[in-house]
């Protein structure tokens, strides 16, 4: 944390002599469907282009138009881009929530608001900037029908003035957003930004301490949401079959995939597609098609969220026992469909690891950033084919649907790992083909694809009632042999899954573990714990399940280990309970957050401090 953040509140209201540079958050409160998305991403991008680390989070309702929505931008010179709970700069455009939004602010915050809302009457300890949006928009947008859409972007101009955002960067960001084909719309919006800027210059006196200054921390970086990143990962991993059923927050993963497929995977000469996308009738059918396609040798994926995962359970069990690859993205969200479907959660960790009936266990990958969404999508296809089993890529709404500043993706150069597939030529060389035999001792058998022109190729696929030659059996020993081999296969996976990120601090007695998007809060929290309490901690970020030996080593190296996760029931810890010895388990403590917002550092720090009795 920078010194500015811990400075006394008095100085925050003490006039422009005191400055908070590149370390604040802006919240834009609007109404769903009012077209504020452009204004918000242009604002975020302008700051990004000034070289300041930034993140943007959209808090939206399960509704198409009319309900309140908030967009939060956090700029932080130290690169902490997780959520920050406190809002420094509010842009209040929604009459419905304005009052509550203002009352929630801490002293010294700034408020840009639509003048008729008269928010300045609510409090005296904030910096208020009234802006008559309707008056400003009328002259720049003669077409009354468009005004509602253009009105929002005026606040970009106002904020550019108040924070000191380079207007040229804003112009670039705006034209990038609209692209060459929508030059006219871009111009209209640009004029609105200029009008906002001009109004602010002439009428608003800067009173708050917040400002932006150029840095050089975003060079070469990109802005992308995790779903688009995963989509690119699939397209560059040679995925050929995608089947899906729409659900927030996963739909945009497939929609982005379709977009990139059409751009990159249609043969220029023939116009033919090297991909097939089917919008299925439900998630059962979606995963059934993936199982069928993977059985026949394609790289197939589906993407869904918790409710869809529940529907897929039976098929996933079949995939496990019949040993069929499948890549399933779970963009996790809160609870059932009438829960908080537009809020984030790490809520499917336990149920997905053990999804289906009988003894089943499934590998899961935990991407934490767009770059990992990209690479792990590729890894997932390799892994699914290598191990002939369904693989889950567990992202969440925060990662999937929000815009992230990210490192650019590296072009994958490794060949595709298509796993142990015997072709007709291979079959000529082997004495016998036994579909479920553990030839190599790693638990992973060989398979053939339907359509292989060889008398030895065919086998009959069914659930668990088969011996190693895929013949029907209900014998006790055949069943036990088979499921024991599946356990061996699961053990082999441990040395092939992505290894965790481990930062062991020799002086630290305490370790902190997390996975996925919890990393942003945890990394910042460790910094807070260090600076505010002088306590050093070690850190381990899991990238996959099954766990690798590095996890148990890490636990053994420390006196106490906190597991930070975004669910009520400590699901990640529960998975450790299934396999770790009691002495290791005795060290585990849990920090949980499950309110549906992206996890923030202060929540982690506060819980940690309480449990440590500091």
């Amino acid at each position: 944390m920078s010194t500015s953040e811990v400075s006394p509140v008095a100085s925050r209201t003490g006039g422009p002599s005191y400055r908070v540079v590149n370390d604040w958050s802006i919240q834009v409160a609007t109404v769903n469907g009012s077209g504020s998305q452009t204004a918000n991403s242009v604002l975020m991008r302008s700051i990004f282009q000034m070289g300041v680390p930034v993140s943007g989070k959209n808090l939206f309702p399960s509704n198409i138009a009319g309900l309140p929505t908030w967009f939060t931008i956090r700029a932080n010179k130290n690169g902490w881009i997780g959520r920050k709970k406190e809002i420094d700069f509010l842009i209040a455009m929604n009459p419905e929530t304005a009052r509550e939004d203002v009352l929630k602010l801490q002293e010294g915050a700034a408020v840009v608001y639509d003048e008729p809302l008269k928010l300045n009457e609510l409090r005296s300890d904030l910096h208020f900037y009234p802006v008559p949006f309707d008056k400003i928009v009328a002259p720049v947008c003669p077409d009354a029908k468009l005004r509602k859409l253009v009105k929002n972007i005026i606040y970009d101009g106002v904020v550019a003035h108040l924070l000191g955002i380079d207007l040229e960067e804003m112009r670039k960001a705006l034209y990038k957003q609209f692209g060459a084909r929508k030059a006219k719309a871009a111009e209209l919006n640009w004029n609105a930004i200029l009008a906002g800027k001009k109004f602010a210059e002439e009428n608003l006196e800067k009173k708050d301490p917040f400002s932006v200054e150029r840095m050089d921390e975003t060079k070469g970086k990109i802005i992308i949401d995790g779903n688009a990143a995963a989509a690119l990962g699939c397209v560059f991993a040679g995925c050929t079959v995608v089947t899906w059923y729409p659900i927030t927050p996963s739909s945009s993963l497939v929609e982005s995939t379709i977009g990139y497929f059409k751009r990159l995977r249609i043969d220029k000469a023939t116009g033919k597609a090297s991909f097939a996308v089917v919008q299925a009738e439900d998630e059962l059918a979606a995963v059934g098609m993936v199982i069928g396609a993977s059985w026949a040798g394609a790289r197939a994926m589906t993407s869904t969220s918790g409710p869809g995962i529940s529907l897929m359970a039976e098929f996933v069990g079949l995939g496990y026992y019949a040993e069929i690859p499948a890549v399933i993205f779970d963009v996790q969200r809160v609870g059932p469909s009438t829960g908080l479907p537009t809020r984030t959660m790490q809520g499917d960790l336990l149920s997905t690891a053990l999804l289906s009936h009988g003894d089943t266990r499934h590998p899961m990958f935990f991407p934490s950033s767009p770059a990992e969404c990209f690479t792990m999508a590729g890894d997932a296809f390799d892994f699914a084919e290598q191990f002939q089993t369904p693989v889950f890529v567990m992202t969440d709404l925060d990662l999937g649907m929000n815009n992230w500043m990210a490192d650019p993706f590296e072009y994958p150069t490794a060949p595709l790992n298509r796993g142990k597939v015997l072709t007709a030529e291979d079959l000529d060389k082997v004495a016998e083909f036994a579909r479920y035999r553990d030839v190599d001792g790693d638990g992973v058998p060989y398979r053939t694809l339907p359509g292989t022109a060889h008398p030895k190729a065919a086998y009959f696929t069914r659930g668990s009632g088969h011996n190693d030659k895929a013949a029907y059996t209900e014998r006790e020993d055949d069943y036990v042999n088979n499921v024991d081999r599946l356990s061996r296969k699961f053990e082999t996976m441990r040395s092939w899954v992505p290894q965790p990120e481990v930062l062991v601090n020799e002086k630290a007695k305490i370790g902190i573990i997390c996975c996925g998007t919890s990393r942003y809060a945890v990394e910042e929290s460790r910094d807070q714990i260090m600076r505010e309490y002088g306590i050093e901690t070690s850190y381990l970020r899991l990238k996959a399940y099954p766990f690798t030996s590095a996890l148990l080593d890490f636990i053994n190296q420390h006196d106490r280990v906190y597991i930070v996760e975004q669910n009520r029931d400590a699901q990640l810890m529960a998975l450790m309970r299934l396999e770790f010895p009691v002495d290791a388990l005795a060290k585990l403590r849990s920090i949980k957050y499950y309110g549906g917002m992206p996890l923030d550092a202060r929540t982690v720090t506060t819980d940690f401090v309480t449990q440590e009795g500091l």
């Binding site: 802005i223 069928g292 394609a298 694809l449």
Partner: protein, 349 residues
């Protein structure tokens, strides 16, 4: 040991492509003796052998049930997939997306198709997925010991005496209404007709749905069941006498002009329909629906090729896929070049 000169072995009987019948057969059936499903398996063996189709080009798909076990009993040299109850349509659709050169043959029960999997069934119909979809329709759930299925006729009696009061689902009506491009009904005991229909299905380009009344001798072959051998024998009315001429055989005219109707199938085969007591045009959707409803009112089981539509695009046509199977495209065909990724990264900067 005396020296006996062995007689020269009799030349083995082979089909058009030089294969014996063995690779067309499967494992020994484990179904009840006399089960209608067994007769259907026999017809499948016969038809693939006679048409001379390489068994390894076939994907045998099924759901769960006595019927769905049967792919193990035919075409031992074809890959088979006994999937989950009612979900054969999805798995088969996926398999064909991956490899459009596979010939899909799907065997399901009436429980699979008309109950648990009816959602998948109707969506497969809409998509016109190019495969042969057989419903081994016995009016009961065989494998779970005889509960009524949704195709049980109103008034039909369970072995225990329970009477079905509910309206049956007619999968042929659904098929015609919702987009199958060949719809037929037959009876497991009618060898000749079933073989001919199956041949037409296999030669058809598009989704062929065949509802085969297939009595369950253990749970539904008693007095009062409308899916029993005796009921169907007494009430079956064939629409036409069918003959099938594969594309590789010359057509020989053996029926009087005016009494027959020829339908040319996609691969050049001919289906010849000889008029029985009515002049039936299987390409007329309204006539087909009408005929099925009228038969139902009379308590008849109308069999034959009920409906054929030859022009509609299949799912695979609509997807405009490259010529080779997607499953085995080499990496150069499925991973765009470095410059494509660079370009996208630049756009996102």
């Amino acid at each position: 040991m005396s020296t006996v000169v062995a007689p020269p072995p009799a030349p083995k009987k082979v089909n058009r492509i030089g294969l014996e019948v063995l690779p067309y057969r499967g494992a020994k059936t484990t179904l009840c003796a006399g089960c209608g499903h067994n007769s259907i398996s026999e017809r499948i063996v016969e038809v693939f052998y006679e048409l001379g189709i390489e068994p390894w080009t076939v994907a045998k798909m099924s759901g769960i049930g006595c019927s769905s076990k049967t792919p193990a009993y035919f075409l031992s040299q074809a890959h088979g997939f006994n999937s989950v109850h009612g979900r054969a349509p999805a798995v088969s659709t996926g398999a064909l997306l991956a490899n459009k050169n596979l010939r899909g043959i799907v065997v399901t029960g009436d429980g699979d198709t008309a109950s648990i999997g009816i959602g998948q069934f109707v969506h497969m119909l809409r998509r016109n997925v190019p495969l042969t979809y057989i419903i081994e329709n016995n009016g009961v759930y065989g494998l779970t010991k005889g509960q009524f299925s949704a195709t049980a006729d109103r008034g039909s009696k369970q072995k225990s005496g329970v009477i079905n009061d509910m309206q049956p689902i007619d999968c042929c009506l659904l098929g015609i209404e919702l987009g199958a491009t060949l719809v037929a009904r037959s009876f497991s005991g009618d060898k000749k007709q079933l073989s001919t229909i199956l041949k037409a299905c296999i030669s058809h380009k598009g989704l062929a749905v065949v509802d085969v009344i297939s009595p369950c001798v253990t749970f539904n072959d008693h007095e009062g069941s409308t899916k029993s051998y005796s009921y169907v024998k007494d009430h079956e009315t064939a629409l036409h006498e069918l003959s099938y001429v594969p594309y590789y055989e010359e057509i020989q005219i053996d029926m009087a002009e005016g009494e027959t109707r020829d339908v040319t199938l996609h691969d050049g085969s001919h289906l010849r329909l000889k008029k029985l007591d009515r002049d039936y045009d299987p390409t007329n959707k309204y006539e087909a629906l009408n005929a099925i409803h009228q038969a139902e009112d009379k308590g008849e089981v109308l069999t034959g090729i009920l409906y054929v539509e030859q022009k509609r695009d299949t799912l695979l046509d609509m997807l405009n896929l490259v010529d080779e199977p997607l499953a085995t495209l080499p990496v150069e065909r499925v991973r765009p070049g470095r410059e494509a990724l660079d370009m996208i990264m630049e756009e996102l900067r």
